[in-house]
């Protein structure tokens, strides 16, 4: 295992952290409009993620920074090649941030309903866009020999990427609903609980269609699995994780179901990652142009320095993040000066 492999692994771990953490608060946003009916209920939703959502988003910032530092050629190609999509990502991220922070600042119902809509739609939009972007990475993009991706926003909206996008929305909605069932009580919790099986079923169906479609139309990923059959442990473990989540929810163990759902998200990402390994961007023009974790990586000196930085910094991050989550554990209570 050389430094490129280590950084690929760490990058996937960071993205998994992002999907698990910001995934549940995006899910809360997606469910905000359909599930939280009164102002009180919407405040419960917002306050359940209130103290942690900003820290969750930092995982994406870190992912971007790590991509820039460890695989600068991928960072440059992906961000410039997906230009308008990235701008839309920024738009919904900004709208989402200000919706969460501004909603509680005024008490007028028009103000609050407006921001509720912005919060719900921007959460949905962010999940969809991230899914579409990841779908394009999975299926490959027109990457030229000069290392640049030439595709328009419309080109990005193929059936597979859209399917990945919708599946991501369903996945976060499911994940968020499990989180909410830990954080809510009474009638609201019962309503969420009645939605959870449906959300799980929708996600499960979409994900099955997605896997079949990928196998049928993008054999490059299946090839990796047929060459190395042991890789099937990742999707198999993901399947086991979601079944476990289902079982635990039926037993009323929401926290452990949330852990299982988180594990499933990480395992699905890992399944995709081992499917494209060692490529980071697959060229649909010529295989020789692929950007891999080797030809797109920074020099060893940088990767070593970064590893030292990560080894010093990340234990503290994990420690105090866990501390903050522990501190805010339990049911969400709406306070006069909360969100």
């Amino acid at each position: 295992m050389n430094l490129s492999d280590i950084w690929f692994l760490l990058f996937i771990v960071i993205i998994a952290g992002y999907l698990i953490l910001d995934g549940f608060d995006m899910g809360v946003g997606i469910l905000h409009l359909p599930l939280a009916r009164s102002d009180e209920e919407r405040r419960v939703f917002l306050n359940s993620i209130g103290p942690v959502w900003d820290g969750n988003e930092v995982w994406l910032i870190l992912g971007g920074g790590v991509l820039f530092a460890a695989f600068p050629l991928v960072y440059a190609s992906l961000f410039s090649g997906f230009y308008l999509a990235m701008m839309l990502v920024l738009l919904v991220m900004i709208l989402r941030t200000v919706a969460i922070e501004f909603r509680s600042k005024r008490s007028s119902s028009r103000w609050r309903t407006g921001w509720d809509a912005v919060f719900g739609l921007s959460s949905l939009g962010l999940a969809l866009l991230l899914g579409v972007a990841f779908g394009n990475v999975l299926k490959g993009v027109p990457l030229g020999a000069d290392g640049n991706i030439r595709m328009s926003l419309i080109d990005m909206l193929g059936p597979i990427p859209l399917l990945v996008g919708v599946t991501t929305v369903a996945m976060f909605a499911m994940h968020g609903s499990i989180f909410l069932s830990m954080k809510t009580e009474g009638a609201l919790q019962a309503r969420i609980a009645s939605w959870m099986p449906r959300l799980m079923a929708v996600f499960f169906a979409l994900n099955t269609v997605l896997i079949v479609a990928l196998a049928a139309f993008h054999p490059s990923i299946t090839d990796r699995y047929t060459q190395h059959p042991w890789l099937a442990v990742f999707p198999a473990a993901a399947l086991a994780a979601i079944l476990t989540a289902w079982y635990l929810l039926r037993r009323g163990r929401a926290f452990w179901a949330f852990v299982a759902s988180s594990a499933m998200i990480a395992l699905l990402l890992a399944s995709g990652a081992v499917g494209i390994f060692p490529n980071l961007i697959i060229s649909t023009v010529a295989g020789a142009d692929n950007l891999t974790i080797y030809n797109a990586a920074s020099a060893d000196n940088t990767l070593t320095v970064m590893l030292i930085i990560a080894l010093i910094g990340m234990p503290f991050v994990l420690l105090y993040t866990a501390g903050v989550y522990y501190f805010f554990r339990g049911k969400t209570v709406v306070e006069p000066h909360g969100y």
Binding site: N56, V58, F68, P72, L91, M93, E101, S298, V333, E335
Partner: protein, 467 residues
């Protein structure tokens, strides 16, 4: 319009808009820590009221700062792909380090800071506040470090194979401690603290003018004024001039542009205001003789290199650099008499509290501090042109080959619209918060202070739900 210019405009717009907020969070953060310490030591509830009030303001500033900050990280890749390929090894790792060391601190503890008033005892709340503020300072440290590497690159070598050409780190500590890093960091931090103190003075003065929350207003001014005086004086006399000497040593073309100095001369003048005619290569205005030589070399007769001494080296837009630099210097120097006058009126039997014109001046000063900081940032960035990495990579060669003018026009329209709305909402909400003022403790406290956990043991040993 060509895509290079559009990308420059977009980056300037988004960076300048973003850069309104972080200095205010850094400066206000420092003030919040001071207020928290005073409360812990005196137990006077008025300081606790101030904490509740200013934490809300902090949350608002922080939210817009975070929302607009993500844009910056994306834009290196979206609009400056060739730059990103070139500098990823060095610049990218400094940005990633900012994420690990700074953003997680801020993001992790922000919830505790914003909601800590009713969940944590005063000391623990102060600790959470300190962690967020420490994170904000750490963030400034890494970002100024990364930018300083663009100004005075060091600790790298150029690697040509395999393509693309890129800067590869050879010495981490040399890339960290580039010659401009420490002087620039100190200058930026002290400027941010000045802005934070000015924000307190502004709001305190406003309350006094409106005869609201008079007791709180007086304490706000009393705590912020000494900081404002010290920061504004030291930032001109010590840190600002030290930074100027750093530019003299490392970026002499930038220095000559800042002062519109066309010919190398001894006893070089320093302008208070003026105009550079780039066609005729002349500079006219009101100048203090020999001041630039004195500032640069502590010797009025020292020779300062003019623009004529750099041969065919490419130059930045000189008049623009001159104007933004002098805007910064002008405003920055103004803070000293404002602070000293306010301090004299304060010491003279607290007359400051009744001197309405001086209070109005204080109300407006915070806007000038933000404008001065922006002008300073523009001086640094425009003065570096036409280089994106000084003397190594040209800005014009740093763009994204696959991004079209139409793409950037669309995103630019989006940012202009979005940021206009954000600015209006920010000012509206900030104004609403200030008009409402600090609320009585009964209105904000849900639990008696004495019942809140104020040690680590209390926090982690409580049974049941934590709130």
């Amino acid at each position: 319009m060509d895509v290079d210019l559009l990308s420059r405009v977009q980056f300037a717009l988004t960076a300048s808009f973003h850069f309104i907020y972080p200095p205010l969070s850094i400066g206000l953060g420092l003030m919040l820590v001071v207020i928290g310490i005073v409360y812990v030591r005196t137990k006077d509830p008025k300081w606790r009221r101030m904490s509740f009030f200013w934490v809300k303001v902090y949350g608002l500033i922080f939210a817009v700062g975070v929302a607009t900050g993500v844009v910056q990280e994306f834009e290196f890749g979206t609009n400056w792909a060739e730059y990103s390929r070139f500098v990823g090894n060095v610049f990218g790792s400094l940005l990633a380090a900012e994420g690990v060391f700074a953003f997680f601190l801020e993001g992790g503890f922000l919830g505790l800071m914003l909601f800590g008033g009713n969940r944590l005892g005063p000391r623990m709340w102060l600790l959470a506040t300190f962690m967020v503020v420490f994170g904000a300072h750490f963030s400034a440290l890494w970002i100024v470090m990364a930018n300083s590497w663009m100004q005075t690159p060091a600790g790298y070598t150029i690697s040509e194979t395999p393509l693309p050409v890129r800067a590869v780190m050879t010495d981490f500590w040399a890339t960290v401690f580039t010659p401009s890093f420490i002087p620039r960091l100190l200058h930026v931090l002290v400027a941010s603290w000045t802005a934070g103190a000015a924000l307190l003075l502004s709001v305190g003065a406003w309350f006094l003018l409106k005869k609201r929350h008079v007791d709180i207003a007086k304490s706000t001014i009393a705590v912020a004024l000494p900081f404002f005086v010290i920061f504004s004086i030291t930032n001109v006399v010590l840190f600002g001039s030290e930074q100027a000497r750093e530019v003299v040593a490392n970026q002499p073309i930038k220095l000559a542009s800042m002062e519109g100095l066309w010919q190398t001369q001894t006893c070089a003048p320093m302008y208070l205001a003026g105009w550079v005619n780039e066609e005729a290569q002349t500079t006219s205005g009101i100048a203090i003789p020999c001041m630039l030589s004195l500032l640069a070399y502590f010797d009025p007769n020292a020779a300062v290199a003019g623009l004529d001494s750099f041969g065919a080296a490419p130059l930045p837009p000189i008049n623009l650099v001159f104007q933004v630099y002098h805007a910064m210097i002008g405003m920055g120097s103004l803070f000293i008499p404002i602070g000293l006058l306010a301090a004299l009126l304060f010491l003279w039997k607290r007359r400051l509290y009744e001197t309405r014109w001086m209070l109005w001046v204080l109300v407006g000063t915070v806007f000038l501090t933000v404008a001065a900081i922006t002008a300073g940032w523009w001086t640094a960035e425009i003065g570096r042109q036409p280089w994106i990495v000084y003397n190594v990579l040209e800005t014009a060669k740093g763009g994204s080959p696959v991004v079209s003018s139409l793409d950037v026009v669309l995103s630019l329209i989006m940012f202009i619209g979005l940021y206009a709305i954000l600015l209006v909402l920010f000012l509206y909400l900030l104004n609403a918060k200030i008009q409402q003022g600090p609320e009585p403790l009964e209105a904000v406290e849900t639990t008696a202070v004495s019942a809140l956990p104020d040690t680590f043991r209390d926090i982690f040993s409580r049974r049941g739900r934590a709130g």
